[in-house]
């Protein structure tokens, strides 16, 4: 039907190897980008832009970061929020201490600092695997929060440990409105997602996946263990660091270290699991499901009350949201353990073969 490929012939290798080999995908992605860059800022109101879509994009970027490490390179990590925290606080310090620092440069510095922390805490991965590695990265989570809380330098000796993001200025224009902040976030996320997609098709990406599938075999065929694993940690932490910086600068505006607790690490890990480990699309689907669905449930209960003309006790509503949300997570994991991205993949395969699926 939609995905009929009849007539699409590939006559060169480069055509065969392009990032989206199917024409419909190329059109779809292009249309999506146009919608995101042009239609959404025009149509979306302030609430949608600043309270729903911007945090969704930022968490999608963090999920993407963790997905590179966990989904592609197979290294389980519980330190995502810590890397985000490093990114946020170091971006703040870069803006504060380096005169005339452009904001994008500060984001890169924040990301690089997070990558450096990632490399240090990735060292145990050379010896330990799986759940044990998760415990080692847990140490990172607690250590970083402890340092951000206790070392006054990180928050410029703010008495409450809170940092307030500086005003963002680009090329003389202030990025102040929700739409401008959204566009900045979207641009960064789009570029980084594209980079990740390409990275995973490259030799490095294949090396990551080889390590994930069987590290002994990977080292036998000549993939350097140390370099590849640490590179995975570095790239992943860089993504998380930039996400953390965006979290502070384009979303909340003011953050305390408590914004980056273990709770957030788990949430991002759930986004990877629900969305689909080892999938770029899955990162977005997972982040969308975990961040937007509870809010949707909350709004839906309100509509339901209005439509039926009844008033439910608020505590009942709040608690039942959590119950429904938890129930749906279990449902999805039973129906498709490989995540929402896999569901989409199956649908796509069926559509490509339609009307004669196997």
């Amino acid at each position: 039907m939609l995905y009929r490929e009849a007539g699409q012939f590939k006559s060169t290798y480069s055509q065969d190897q392009q990032i989206f080999p199917i024409l419909q995908d190329r059109i779809g992605v292009l249309a999506l980008l146009v919608v995101a860059f042009v239609v959404v800022p025009l149509v979306g109101d302030q609430y949608w832009l600043s309270a729903l879509i911007t945090p969704f994009l930022i968490l999608a970027l963090a999920t993407l970061g963790l997905n590179i490490l966990t989904g592609y390179a197979g290294q389980l990590s519980l330190g995502t929020a810590a890397f985000m925290g490093v990114g946020a606080f170091m971006t703040y310090n870069a803006m504060l201490r380096i005169p005339h620092m452009p904001i994008l440069g500060a984001f890169v510095i924040g990301g690089l600092c997070a990558a450096a922390v990632g490399i240090v805490f990735g060292l145990p991965s050379l010896r330990i695997k799986g759940l044990y590695l998760a415990v080692a990265t847990l140490a990172c989570q607690f250590f970083v929060l402890w340092a951000l809380n206790r070392v006054g330098w990180f928050s410029n000796h703010s008495s409450s440990g809170v940092i307030t993001a500086q005003r963002i200025e680009m090329l003389g224009y202030g990025v102040d409105t929700p739409a401008a902040k959204y566009l900045l976030t979207l641009a960064i996320v789009a570029v980084m997602a594209l980079a990740a997609k390409n990275l995973m098709r490259s030799e490095t990406g294949r090396a990551f996946m080889a390590i994930r599938d069987m590290d002994v075999a990977a080292s036998v065929v000549g993939i350097p263990m140390m370099k590849t694993k640490l590179l995975a940690f570095a790239i992943s932490s860089f993504y998380c660091g930039v996400a953390g910086a965006l979290y502070a600068y384009t979303y909340l505006g003011t953050v305390e270290p408590e914004a980056f607790t273990l709770d957030l690490s788990f949430r991002v890990l759930f986004m990877v699991i629900i969305g689909g480990a080892g999938s770029i699309l899955g990162s977005f689907l997972g982040a969308g499901f975990i961040t937007l669905f509870p809010i949707f449930l909350n709004l839906a209960s309100r509509w339901l009350e209005n439509a039926l003309g009844i008033e439910l006790p608020h505590a009942v509503v709040s608690n039942s949201e959590a119950i429904i949300f938890g129930g749906l997570i279990i449902f999805f994991l039973i129906v498709e353990p490989n995540g929402l991205a896999r569901l989409w993949q199956i649908t796509k395969e069926k559509l490509r073969l339609w009307p004669f699926p196997h």
Binding site: Q46, L252, N306
Partner: protein, 439 residues
Amino acid sequence: MKRTIAVTALAALAFAGAASAQNEQFIPTNFYWVGPYAPGGSGFGGGIIDYMQMLNERDGGINGVKLTWEKCETEYNNARGVECYERSKNKGPTGATVIHPLSTGITYSLIEKATADRIPIISMGYGRTSAADGRVFPYVFPLITTYWSQATVMVKYMGQKMGGMDKWKGKKLVLVYHDSAYGKEPIPILTDMAKQYGYELTTIAVPHPGNEQQAQWLQVRQIKPDWVILWGWGVMNPTALKAAAKIGYPRDKIVGVWWSGAEEDVLPAGSAAKGYISAGFNLPGSDFPVMKDIKKFVYDKGKGEFEDKSRFGSIYHTRGVVAGIVTAEAIRNAQAKFGKGKPITGEQMRWGIEHLNIDDKRLKELGAVGLMPPLKVSCMDHEGSGLVKFQQWDGTKWKVLTDWMEPDRKLVRAKVEADAAQYAKEKSIQPRDCGKDSM
């Protein structure tokens, strides 16, 4: 059939939309009813809603303008708090009138956003202390009393108990605090006073949510302090009292912050809480005339917020009522200036709060004498009172120990102005000139 239902539902929605565009004043009630801090959130939220409901039932609103509200669950979580704020700020005919974030973290996240949107924030007894400098923070009101005022009153109270402030020399004070922006607020002022009075301050952090405190209280046992200040929140409070009982630290040497001093904080600790002292800026009780009105006009009609009637008149409940009084009085104030019987905007509300003057006479008219201290806000001073009382838990109820006590205004104000000036510099804000009465 299905279609008819859908059409009816749509019509009902449209009708509801049309009906809401009347003479109404919208006040968001973004609090929390689930999670470890639910006792505080639901109690405070219940109080403010009960008071507004009472005004609607008894007086038909404020000068005929009905008060409306909508609940939004923040879970005491910054991200959800910001989402709720964005969701609620454009509701009602004039948008959100005022925001009560009921979380120091959410207050910090909203300061800039609300200032840009021209919606005042009332952070009553929490939030950023230096926002008391109204020249730098025109839209933020840490009303009644701030954390720094409270910390100075605590040290003063302990000094009095020991027989004078000079007795502080060489004594040991421990601060056991919730490891968050909220818990860290008093540290700078307590450190300053340590230099002034010569006591030795140790700060011990308890990580969120605070249901495990063995290690912290063992440290307290090693230090053997003369006094402990408990800066806790939610489930952390009863846990701390139980842990103190376990190491045998006398409970009447522990002084809690007002967020550690409600029935919900001591009842779970059982007998371990007996003798524990806490600060407060409102008193519990159901005998105040205003509480009797709430009982008569709201609860007797079955419209009360609490299903558990024993929470009526509890500390969090009356604190919410105080928040309701402050909010309603500010609206009344703004209406008197900008047009009676009309909904006011956030900007007009800001004027209303800044010119609040709830003196003893007005408190009497409101039926709230003793429920809260008198309050007078100005452009310079967004705190308005600073007074604090102490109370002691006798095992069944809170017993008032002192009258309203004065903070060390000079010390607090100097620190507030220094901190606000630094904020103004970082953000390049030009402080307002309070000589001119601007809109």
